[in-house]
Amino acid sequence: MTSKTGNHIATGTLFESARLKAELDPSVKEHLEECDHCQGRRRWMEAATRLGPKERTYDPPDAVMDKVLRLSRNRGLDRLRKFIVASLSFDSFNALAPAGVRRAETTERHMTFEADDIEISLSFRPSDQRNFVLTGQVMSKGGEPLPDVSGRVALVIEGEHVATTALSPWGEFMFQDVPRGSYALQFALSDRLMRIRSLLITH
């Protein structure tokens, strides 16, 4: 077999050294040590070799793929089109404390957010040294529950939905043992997505 073509090592020779660990002739080895082009070609062949037979086991089972592909039908791509960011309209920590009460004494925090015709009330209080209980309710601005039985809410950290729960028929939800940190909250309703972009739970 020719081990060099033109100024570079023949493709087959490089392949056999990368994939089949074939010994290279001393002159070919010397060229390889000095030639960036040939080193580059050999490196991708080594990477493909590392991928190896396992690659064929990395195809998810059909049933799992079906479930993922069905997301675009079951969850509805249409809903994704209506994405609304909720804005803060009330925060008890910014409100004046009642006379005689120092703000630090209040351990429960209440917030209200608004998005279109919807109001989201949140409340969080410490459950232990590190964690909080987060409760809330989603309703119309008129105080009526939403006519949506499929609503869900997710606690999101940098894009990862770390916890999700269903809304009750009255739009209520609760997350227990939420560690201090910065979160987003995303509400998936039948006709829209609503997001509270940043919720810093620190005290």
Binding site: M1, A10, T11, G12, F15, R19, L20, D36, Q39, G40, R41, R43, W44, M45, A47, A48, T49, R50, L51, G52, P53, K54, E55, R56, T57, Y58, D59, P60, P61, V64, M65, K67, V68, L69, L71, S72, R73, R75, L77, D78, L80, R81, F83, A154, V156, E158, G159, E160, H161, V162, Q186, A188, L193
Partner: protein
């Protein structure tokens, strides 16, 4: 194969194109599914994590249209889910393919990202090959045990004498595609 970029596919999803979602999932299915195995998790857990990553991706599409690299986002989310899974189960892996600190961190290291990027580029390169070359490359790299050249030639209907030429042509073609896809040697 859908030639649209990730950003074009995401935008198409948001415009209601279910085929775009399928293309996106097919493009990265092996990358996402491989990550739990690299963490030494079992098949059932890998299936759960795979679904969970794509569920997050679906719900986040409206924000992902603005990110630079969907691939890096998928890797980060999958690694974090593996990390959380391990924390919850408190179990040590039976085998961990990547010998590094990723199994104790919830963010992927630069090495892991580079490693997974290389693998994904090779997958994409192979997807761009002609069916015949794809068959050759998969036989060369992904079969165990390595099939003899005579067997590969037989499958392709070639004489054993000409398989060397076909092999080299397909390898060169893949090398060129990888270069075009930005594979850094």
């Amino acid at each position: 194969m859908d030639e649209r970029s990730d950003q074009e596919l995401i935008q198409a999803c948001l415009d209601g194109d279910a085929n775009a979602w399928e293309s996106l999932v097919h493009r990265y299915r092996r990358l996402v599914y491989s990550i739990p195995f690299k963490w030494g998790l079992q098949r059932d857990d890998a299936m759960d994590i795979f679904q969970s990553v794509w569920l997050d991706c679906f719900e986040e599409l409206h924000l992902l249209k603005d990110i630079e690299r969907l691939q890096a986002w998928l890797v980060r989310i999958a690694v974090r889910k593996c990390y959380r899974f391990r924390q919850r189960s408190q179990s040590e892996p039976t085998t961990v393919e990547l010998i590094e600190t990723d199994h104790v961190a919830d963010n992927p290291s630069d090495d892991l990202i580079r490693h997974l990027d290389e693998e994904q580029l090779i997958r994409l390169g192979i997807q761009h090959l002609s069916p015949r070359c794809k068959q050759v490359i998969e036989a060369l790299f992904f079969e165990d045990p390595f099939p003899s050249y005579a067997i590969i030639a037989g499958r392709l209907g070639l004489s054993p004498n000409s398989i060397g030429f076909t092999r080299d042509r397909c390898l060169d073609r893949l090398g060129k595609l990888l270069e075009d896809l930005g594979y850094e040697h």
